[in-house]
């Protein structure tokens, strides 16, 4: 596991053809690791019949909503958290 809880991370902003579980709305955004989950088989490979090994570490990454949406209407403390695989994350500290 590369990232500890509290680490600032940036979600990679790269094009990806085919199945992946990183939503467009967080690509390129910077947030913080909130939880370190276990590692899981890669859905990107499993979706095409691959075994998904080696397992990929999964993190709950949280963002300030106002960092994600330019026109966010809500409170400054509002947050959004997603489960993101390690290979989509870059250290932003």
């Amino acid at each position: 596991m590369r990232f500890d809880p509290g680490t600032r991370v940036r979600v990679a902003d790269r094009p990806h053809e085919g199945h992946h579980r990183t939503p467009a709305y967080v690509k390129g955004k910077t947030g913080r690791v909130e939880r370190v989950h276990a590692a899981f088989k890669s859905p990107e490979a499993r979706a095409y019949g691959g075994d998904g090994l080696p397992q990929q570490p999964l993190y709950l990454v949280g963002f300030a909503q106002r960092d994600v949406w330019p026109e966010y209407r809500g409170r400054p403390g509002d947050r959004i958290s997603l489960d993101i695989y390690e290979h989509w994350l870059e250290d932003a500290d």
């Binding site: 902003d13 094009p15 199945h19 939503p23 690509k27 859905p43 979706a47 095409y48 019949g49």
Partner: protein, 95 residues
């Protein structure tokens, strides 16, 4: 950047959320059971199910009901694996 049809977070919409309750119809429970039965037999996993759904043409995806997407995916994935022959299900339906 272009996003795939299933990637809906923040997609512009004015639509209100339809909060009416719908019991699942028998055929919807059947579709759900089919996917999980195929999963039990190692013939289709959840990632393939999702990938199959995501391969729907945009207009079809947005028009289709939830379990209609599941059926589309089953046919796509099982077709790829040669478990269903092209047109076989249509012939079964007598179409």
């Amino acid at each position: 950047m272009n996003r795939a049809v299933h990637d809906r977070g923040g997609w512009p919409t004015d639509a209100p959320i339809d909060r009416s309750e719908h019991e699942l119809a028998d055929w919807e429970l059947l579709a759900d059971g089919l996917v999980h039965a195929l999963g039990d037999h190692g013939l289709m996993n959840v990632d393939e199910l999702r990938r199959g759904i995501e391969s729907m043409p945009r207009a079809e995806y947005e028009r289709a009901g939830y379990y209609e997407r599941w059926l589309f995916s089953i046919e796509t994935i099982l077709g790829e694996k040669g478990i269903l022959a092209p047109g076989e299900l249509d012939r079964k339906l007598g179409a």
